[in-house]
Structures are given as C-alpha cells and as structure tokens.
C-alpha cells in the first residue's frame, strides 16, 4: 500500500536511466580484471598463508606474474599449466614461487590454456565449503523466531579481536541481531589482507580470515544460547574488496559493506579498479547469499542531507542496477541511507520520515540499511539519546530492515560496552512502543511529507538523466556525490588494473554466473 502516492512512471524512468548508467560501466568491467580479483581466484583455489616476510602468498604469486610474465592472461592460465605439468597443488605451487624455486613465466607464450579442468577439484573444495555455509545459515535463520521490526545492528571496534568478542557477546545478549566489526582505519588502502588474529588496530580491528573465524565461532555459540541466529558483518571494500568477499563467503559472514562509490569518494580509490573489483565481489556475494550494504549514507556526512537527498536516492538506483548486473537477488541488496538532517531545521523529522518511507516504497524487497545521526551528534550525550530516539521512531515507522543503532557517544569515541547497551534499550523500547504505528497512519496527500518525497524523486530523475548523459566516470569527476571530485586516472590502485588478453579465462566467475542464472531460471 502506497502512503506517498509516488509517481510510478518517474520511478520506472529512474530505473531505466540507472540501468543505462550501469551498462556503460559494465562494458568496461567485462574487458578488465585486477590484481585483487586474481588474488581472490587464488584464495578460491585454496591458497592461504604468508611467506617469511609476512606477505600473503596470493600477493607473492600475483606480483610474480605481474612482474615476470603477462598477468593479462589471468592467474588461471598459469595455475592450470603448472598443475598439469608439475602435478602439484595450487598451495604447493605458490609456496615454491615464494621460495624462488619456481618461475611461472615459462607459460606466458603458451596457447590459451586447455587445462582448466585441472583447477576444478580445487575450486570444488571451496565451493563445497561456501555451499555448506549457505545451507547452515539458511537453516539457522529458519530456526530463528521471526520478527517484523528492523534488525538491530551494532558495531564493535576495539582494535583487538578478543576484546571485540566480549563486546559482541554482551551486545548480542542485550538483543543485538547483527554485529559489525569495524575495520582499522586505513585498511581499505592496504593492497593485501593482513594475516592471523590481530590485537592492534586504530578505530577498528583488521579484517583477516582468522579474525572472521574467531568472531563467527563466538557468535555461533551465543546464537545457540539465545536461540536466534546472530549475523556478522564486515567490509568487502577498499583495495582488497573481492578477496575479503571471498573470505567472508568461506567463513560465513552474513553481510558485507560493499560499495565502490564509497571507496572512490571517501577513500580515493581509483574508480576503474574498484568497479571491476565490485562486480566480482557482488557476483560472489550473490552466490554465497551474503547481503551487501551500500554506503549512500556517507554522502550526507559531507554534503547537506536536506539539499542533497536526491544524490542518495540516485545512488541507490545505480547500486541496485550494479547489483542486478551481478545477478544479485533483491533480498540481498542492503541499499543505504541515513538520518542526517540538521536538528536545527524545522520539521526535520518529517523530512527524514519522507526520505525513509520513500526508500521503502521504491525498493520494497530490499533489506534497506538505515544509518543513524552522526554529523549532528555532539558531546551532549543526553541530547544525543533524544536524536537517536527520533531516528529509531523513523526506522520502525517506515519499516526499515537493517537498523544501525546510533550511539550517544558517536562524537566522542568508538562505543563503550555501556553505550551499546543504552542504544539497544532505546531501540527495543521504541520498537515495542511503535510496533504497528506505521500501519495505523496515512499521510496528508497535500502535506509536507508527501510533497517532500515527490520533490526528491523528481530531482533524482533529473540527476540520473544528467549522469546518464555525462557517464559515470565523468559524473565522479564533476563531484556530484558528496561534493568530492575524483578522476578516472587518479586515486589508489590503478596500477593493479589490466585489460584482459583474448586468452584470459576465469572459470570460477563463469561457474558462479552459470549457477546464479540457473537458480533464477528455476525461480
């Protein structure tokens, strides 16, 4: 039932523009690969571990080929030849390369590899692992009592995975349904994934496979005690976006922050690099049934939430189409938005509600990710609690899906154990008090809320049309999103992008795509 009476033709037109925008980028994506995509493929072949200098073997191997051979043929070209001729497994091959006992450049001038089937048994081991994780998660979610209120999501960010676990357990016992481990500041710019359990991070904890495993194990235990499945979130973003997506699939993370636009704008990651990386990550996440979270909310931390609301909606439309290109089911598209209008603005709550209801109506099947106030939070924690309460009311009333709880100490520090508990109490109270409020109310068809939604949608259509005309790359150069301009040849990670050789092959991506198409066909 529509409460806002949005113009369906305008929504349809927005989707057509967004589809065209995504198509332009997809043509570029399909012709290219990156060092991080190739490293992910190695991980999916079972290559793990580090060399004597602490460098991950997947980096050693890809760098080896990048320097000595021709990476444009793809890692599978070299691995398939080496496995076939040397009768070694991918990990053994990688270890030998790291000890300078093997040089894969001898396969550079060989014809297109006829030995891809030699990779199958190794890929199958990881696919089996991912499949088991999918079915385990599906069963656990089925066993979890259903709630029709937004899922309460809190972050832990101590820098030490063992402390994070204590905080996560405490939050889960207090009613949290989703736990995100925030990454150490700066990890998005590392061109490798750190290794092992880590205890030193700043503003967060490093995303590593071992940290994923430790936290997942702890949350599985608390899930059993609480008799409801607690979801785990991390960040498949930054320069190692696809590798972290792979690790998340293997270690059963349930959600991943995954948004190229965020990396381009806020981390100055090269746009070519991260669009290619994002496609591989999203196909992989689609296959692994991992919900992605997009980062539109961040635009509003630098540009004004009232004036630039249309950039958020435009980006949601574009992210939806990028996800569709990756064959992602709508139930996995956690499109982002946020409660960031200045408390100084009269009727700010009405404008927030308009934006939230609008997102809900336009993306009815998406698990929308709703972010709390951050920009206008201050050291006044008491006022902050009230700001969070209004945000919670908007979240419950407009039936958001992934409800990032605001912390009253947002402007002060990464949350203390008690900050999180206070937030959970706040949200639980409001979710109970306002449970069916959204179903009880309708909006004045000539009122502020309906008009605001209509205006934002109209402005979004205009913006999307402009982006389609300019193209995505030029739009980013113009600084349309968050008022920050980025260049196609600027930013970090461009040297890891390459055009695919005509003999390039990526059988694991082909497998995921084939499976997803078959699954959709069955539906």
């Amino acid at each position: 039932m529509s409460k806002l009476n949005l113009d369906l033709n305008t929504i349809k037109a927005c989707r057509v523009h967004a589809d065209h925008i995504a198509n332009q980028v997809q043509t570029f994506i399909d012709q290219h690969s990156t060092v991080s995509v190739e490293r992910s493929i190695l991980r999916l072949l079972g290559v793990d571990g580090i060399n004597d200098f602490g460098i991950p073997l997947v980096n050693v191997v890809v760098d080896h080929i990048h320097e000595k051979a021709d990476l444009s043929l793809g890692i599978c070209h070299y691995m398939s030849y080496a496995i076939h001729e040397l009768n070694l497994n991918p990990l053994e091959i990688s270890t030998r390369i790291s000890k300078n006992k093997l040089d894969l450049s001898v396969y550079t001038n060989k014809p297109k590899s006829p030995y891809l089937s030699d990779l199958t048994s190794y890929f199958d081991l990881m696919i089996k692992q991912i499949d088991q994780m999918k079915s385990f998660r599906k069963l656990q979610i089925e066993l979890t009592p259903e709630t029709n209120t937004p899922q309460k999501y809190v972050i832990v960010a101590t820098g030490n995975i063992h402390e994070d676990i204590k905080q996560a357990i405490s939050a889960a016992k207090k009613g949290a349904q989703i736990i995100a481990v925030i990454r150490s500041t700066g990890q998005s710019l590392l061109d490798y994934v750190p290794y092992g359990a880590t205890t030193e991070g700043f503003g967060g904890t490093y995303a590593t496979q071992e940290n994923f495993r430790l936290m997942r194990k702890a949350l599985d235990e608390v899930s059993l005690e609480e008799k409801r499945y607690i979801k785990l979130v991390n960040y498949a973003s930054g320069l190692c976006m696809p590798e972290i997506a792979a690790l998340g699939a293997i270690e059963r993370l349930d959600m991943m922050l995954n948004d190229s636009l965020y990396g381009i704008i806020f981390r100055d990651i090269n746009m070519q690099r991260t669009f290619i990386d994002q496609y591989f990550s999203r196909v992989l996440s689609s296959y692994a049934n991992i919900i992605i979270n997009t980062g539109e909310d961040n635009y509003l931390t630098t540009s004004d939430a009232f004036e630039h609301a249309n950039t958020v909606l435009a980006s949601q439309f574009i992210n939806e189409q990028f996800a569709k290109k990756a064959l992602m089911d709508e139930s996995l598209m956690g499109l982002g938005h946020a409660y960031e209008i200045s408390p100084e603005i009269e009727n700010s709550f009405l404008y927030e509600l308009a934006q939230a209801e609008m997102a809900r109506e336009i993306f009815p099947n998406a698990p929308l990710k709703y972010m709390p106030p951050t920009k206008h939070m201050t050291g006044d924690i008491f006022m902050g609690s009230v700001q969070n309460a209004l945000f919670n009311i908007a979240a419950v009333t407009s039936n958001q899906s992934i409800h990032l709880l605001g912390m009253m100490t947002e402007a002060i520090h990464t949350p203390f154990i008690s900050d999180r508990a206070i937030s959970l109490d706040n949200a639980s109270y409001i979710e109970k008090a306002f449970k069916d409020f959204g179903n009880e109310i309708t909006y004045n068809p000539n009122g502020i809320i309906v008009k605001r939604a209509k205006d934002v949608l109209r402005d979004t259509q205009g913006l999307l049309k402009q982006i389609e005309n300019d193209g995505m790359f030029q739009t980013l150069e113009k600084g349309v999103f968050a008022g920050i301009s980025r260049h196609k040849l600027g930013g970090k990670g461009l040297d890891g992008v390459f055009e695919k050789h005509e003999n390039y092959q990526n059988p694991i991506l082909d497998y995921f795509i084939r499976s997803l198409k078959e699954a959709n066909h069955v539906k």
């Binding site: 204590k166 700066g186 806020f266 201050t378 002060i412 520090h413």
Partner: protein
Amino acid sequence: MSNKLELIRPYGDTLNDGKIQLSFSLPLPCNALGEEAAKNMAKKMGIHNAAVVHSAPLGEHFSFYVVYGTVEHQINIKDLNVVEVKSKTMNKEEVEAYIKDHFDQPLVFIGASTGTDAHTVGIDAIMNMKGYNGNYGLERYKGINAINLGGSVDNETLLEKAIEYKADVILISQTVTQKDIHIQNLTRFIELLEAENLRDQFIVIIGGARINHGLAKELGYDAGFGLKKYAFDVASFAVLALNEKKLKRKQLK
C-alpha cells in the same frame, strides 16, 4: 572576590553541595557484589553517600551502574591555568578586509586529515565552501586560496604539497584519537618540519574534537582548535599570526 567563591564544588541545587552523577561499567556480573564494587569505586573517587540508582547486566560478565553522590573535593579556581587562543576573533568580512590591508598576495591555506585518519568531517567543516553550522568555509573567503587535500594524507605528502603550493598556513585535522594515535602523528609532522628546517616558514594549526590550544602548543604548533570553532576562528588567528611573523606582509611603498 571572596575566598568562598574561589573554592568551588559541583552544584546540584544548593551552592557547593558537591552533587555529582557518574555512569560506568564493571567487569562483574550484575549482583550485590557488583553494586558494592560500584559504590566503593565512587568512594575512592572522593564521593560520599554514593547511591547506585540504576544497575543493569551487560551480558553475563559485565554490568552497568549510574551513581549519584556528594564529592568531597573542592577546586580553588585561582590555581587554574587555562591556555586559550588569545588573539582577537574577526568575522569573515573583517578577515577579508584585514587580508586586503595587510598582504599583497592571496594567502594560501592547505589542509588535510593526516596519517591513517580518513575522517574529513573536521577539515571539510573549516575549509569547504559550505562550512559548518552556517559559517562559511575558507574556500569562500576573498584573499584566501584554500586547498583541501582530504583524508589519509601522509605527513610527507602534506609537506610536499605545502611547498609546491607555497602555502602560508597548514591545517591538520585529527578525528581518530584512539590510543593517542593522533599525538604520534602530530609529533611526526613537527619533527619533519624541523628536520627540513621549515618550521618558521608556515603557520601550522591543528584541529579536531579532541584537540585544544594547550595540546597544540605542547606539541609545537601555533594553535589548536577544538569543538565549536569555525573557519573564522582559524582564519582570524592565522592572518594575525602571519602578520606578526612578518610572513608575506605587504611591502610599505
């Protein structure tokens, strides 16, 4: 002022009644022992008649307390020493006029959030056109060329750019302060300036929610600005300091 007023205690509803509230968590289950521990903690802080008015479990092994009581300590305000930016504050138009009157060329302000800190909220609030809370940023000031390098900028890169653009003022924002990472980072920048013998070439200012002028002076910066400081505060200090340091001052004809 009488002695009585120079010695102060917190105020609840009667002068110097010493009433205080605090809240904290303990790594103990929420039970009578936890509550006693909370009271004891308050007592050691000099709080008499501590009352635990609220306690709640945070999972099995942690608990949360809200405590009210009467603090025994008093402060003699005569003993206090506050380090503040002392120069006068001008509004945007006054700063612009001051620049016009005192300098020949536009002043170059270069800014960044440095080290691993990717948060640009602070530097954007000061530098970007829009500014913050209705106070325009430096980009909009006549006579100022504002260059915002954004977040995660290395100290080395910042200095390189400052030289390249012939900057007069360097602004550094620090948002992430967990485990004092900002202190190390800010110290390194000053060391870098000194190693290159360039400290006197620039006015160097730091900012951030956890930054204050006292900290800035201690670390060797010209000034530090914390919460509720805007572009005009920073610009006022910078133009006056530049004039005083005789940097880029108008040549008398």
